[in-house]
């Protein structure tokens, strides 16, 4: 069994060993003990904070697996959400602009693709640091973990923006070379992609970006073929996240990362299934039902005011129901009792 919950101080050692094995593409997951501790502390403070306007809060969730025999628990994944991207600066990205070109004299018309450095994603809420262990990749809990952030955001709208985005790692080769970086950022930074990511700490909100990156649109047809080919393409490690997010309602074509050209998925909350399709249902405590009829997977969370918890539930269709049947074990994990409300959304 799995549960998604806010990170706790006790999780730090587990996160550290997790960080040791994560893939190179995931540049938003902290790696060093120090930075992990900072991230956990910041998350604890964020969950505890009274928030009127989203600011520097950052919420870190973990996916915990619970051995049904022994009750042993271990961390199997992480996912985070920043309340307001670039909150101590400006979040820079490239906007995909299409410039229409029409010539009356020549009777021709075509469009030219250009990348414009923009700060439009500033103050969006930013999803990041999504990672699950290999054993979870094919399970509904991967979707649960990704979506828990949005379930929490839907319950606590004052803590987040109306719009969300997720940068996914772009294509790099085995040596860590990024064709997009080599065609673009390198000309200004005069250093390798990984060195640049290191000096900037994976951030996209630093003054040095204004100082160094191009102020004028980059006409895509002028970029070398290999750089064009990877624009908006995900690193293979991001495929699961990409699929989960697009299924959720995120759209991929409007922005790309200024460093590696990876896609930035974004959406208004009105366009996200977690916000538009979730139901509030009453809890009906019941023993595990016999396996009758078709079942679908749901993500279910408690009301989160105290201690947010989310689990998956394989259940008959709840479409026209007013209550959902949960086993006593699930109720305990979710910290809910008969008659409490929970939020459900199909995975």
């Amino acid at each position: 069994m799995y549960v998604v919950r806010p990170v706790e101080t006790a999780d730090i050692p587990a996160l550290e060993s997790l960080a040791a094995v994560t893939m190179p593409g995931v540049h938003t997951l902290p790696r060093s003990r120090d930075r992990i501790e900072m991230a956990v502390e910041r998350s604890l403070a964020s969950f505890a904070a009274q928030v009127d306007i989203p600011s520097e809060e950052s919420y870190l969730f973990v996916l915990e697996s619970i051995d049904e025999g022994t009750g042993a628990r271990r961390i199997s994944g992480t996912a985070a959400i920043f309340a307001s991207a670039g909150s101590n600066g400006t979040y820079f990205s490239f906007r995909n602009d299409v410039i229409q070109q029409v010539s009356r004299d020549l009777n021709i018309s075509h469009s030219v693709h250009a990348l414009t450095l923009c700060s439009e994603l500033t103050a969006y809420s930013q999803l990041s640091s999504f990672y699950v262990e290999e054993g979870v990749l094919q399970r509904p809990e991967a979707a649960l973990l990704s979506r828990s952030r949005l379930l929490y955001a839907a319950q606590q709208p004052q803590r987040f923006g109306d719009r969300f985005f997720v940068p996914l790692a772009g294509v790099t080769d085995a040596e860590g070379q990024s064709p997009f970086w080599n065609a673009l950022g390198r000309k200004f930074f005069q250093m390798d992609f990984l060195d640049a990511e290191r000096v900037i700490g994976g951030a996209r909100n630093r003054t040095l970006i204004v100082e160094l990156m191009p102020h004028y649109p980059v006409y895509v047809p002028l970029l070398p073929g290999d750089a064009q080919a990877v624009m908006g393409q995900i690193h293979p490690s991001g495929e699961l996240a990409f699929n989960l997010l697009t299924a959720e309602g995120f759209e991929a074509d409007e922005y790309i990362d200024i460093f590696d050209g990876g896609p930035i998925l974004q959406a208004h909350k009105h366009g996200l299934r977690t916000f538009t399709r979730s139901q509030r249902l009453r809890v009906r405590m019941a023993p595990a039902a016999a396996n009758r009829g078709p079942r679908v997977d749901y993500a279910i969370c408690n009301d989160g005011s105290d201690a947010f918890r989310a689990v998956t539930l394989s259940s008959p269709d709840l479409a026209d129901c007013e209550a959902v049947a949960l086993t006593p074990e699930l109720c305990e994990i979710l910290r809910v009792a008969e008659g409490d409300s929970v939020t459900c959304v199909r995975i």
Partner: protein, 348 residues
């Protein structure tokens, strides 16, 4: 013997014959009777001063006085870009630096501009292959500077000349292939023809408007920015001797350089002088200084401007010309001429 002179109404057939020799690459001199006839009419009106200075197009021909055949042509336009926009790329510099990272990057950029709007333009220089020898090329090219020095009030502050850009052996333009083709989606020569026909609004419609970093272009395209076509290199040197400089403007299609100068800083403005034709007497010949270098000599008449190159030189306001030379200038002893040493004085 050769004379360079203002074109006149009788030169149309000769001009057409010359234009037929030009081949591709010079968009302003096509063997098209209608276009040439219109241009000739404008040129005649220009020398007659019946149209305003900014509309004028002073066309000069080099005539072989022995045969009456036209050996070359060149022109000065009063002002460019006043009816159709005149586009260039201007090369600028942007510095990107970060103290934090200790990075200092100097980048060259291309800006689409109409900055040269209103400049006077040297153009349409063509010398028939049969006459490519001796001082003929210099005479033809430099005649225009003597004209400007004689009539500076007819010209704007700035004078320019567009030089044909670099082309590969197969006639393709690496700059166009690296930049323009992405936006125009047609052949270089096709684009060139369209501009020759005056169909230029497509430039505004299709050209990228935002400044471009040259570093984005393919290396082959970067390498030829401001480089002339191999066959144009001598013409470029002649203009540079006269005080014209490449100041960072290039053609938007082939990145050929635009040479430019302030009229007041042309060598001809500084070094040309008026002189009187000495009487044709033996004593005068004896006193004339031994000429070190040929001299360009012109009359001072706008309508019938004529110029030759001579071995004589201006000595204290007098110059010794043979009667044949005087005849080619339509002058005689005692008349005033303007002189300019053919070669540039070396800066000490």
């Amino acid at each position: 013997m050769l004379v360079v002179r203002a074109i006149n109404e009788n030169d149309l057939d000769g001009l057409f014959a010359l234009a037929s020799q030009v081949g591709t690459g010079m968009t302003t001199l096509k063997a098209d009777m209608k276009m040439l006839g219109d241009r000739l009419a404008t040129a005649c009106a220009s020398f007659a001063e019946t149209i305003p200075p900014e509309e004028r197009d002073y066309l000069f021909v080099m005539e072989d006085t022995a045969s009456g055949r036209l050996a070359g042509v060149c022109a000065i336009k009063g002002a460019v870009g006043l009816t159709e926009p005149f586009y260039n790329y201007r090369i600028g510099t942007l510095v990107h630096s970060s103290r934090e990272l200790d990075v200092f990057t100097k980048m060259e950029t291309l800006y689409l501009s109409n900055d040269l709007t209103g400049s006077s333009e040297l153009c349409s220089l063509f010398l028939h292959p049969d006459y490519r020898q001796g001082h003929n090329g210099k005479l033809l090219s430099k005649s225009r500077f003597l004209f400007i020095a004689q009539f500076p009030h007819l010209f704007t502050e700035k004078i320019i000349a567009e030089m044909r850009g670099y082309q590969a052996d197969d006639g393709s333009s690496p700059f166009y292939e690296g930049l323009g083709r992405h936006f125009f989606k047609m052949d270089f020569h096709h684009v060139d023809d369209l501009t020759a026909l005056g169909k230029k609004s497509f430039i505004a419609e299709l050209m990228p408007r935002q400044p471009l970093y040259i570093a984005y272009l393919p290396q082959e395209a970067q390498d030829v920015v401001g480089q002339v076509h191999n066959s144009t290199a001598p013409a470029r040197r002649l203009l540079e001797q006269e005080g014209m400089h490449y100041e960072g403007y290039v053609d938007i299609f082939d990145a050929g350089p635009v040479l430019q100068a302030r009229v007041s800083e042309l060598r001809a403005m500084r070094d040309s002088e008026l002189a009187t034709i000495a009487p044709d007497e033996d004593s005068v010949h004896a006193c004339a200084p031994a000429s070190k270098e040929p001299t360009l000599v012109s009359n001072t008449t706008l309508r019938d401007f004529r110029m030759i190159v001579t071995d004589s030189s201006n000595a204290n306001g007098h110059i010794d010309l043979t009667s044949a030379e005087q005849q080619r200038l339509h002058l005689r002893a005692g008349d005033t001429v303007r002189t300019l040493p053919l070669g540039a004085r070396k800066v000490p």
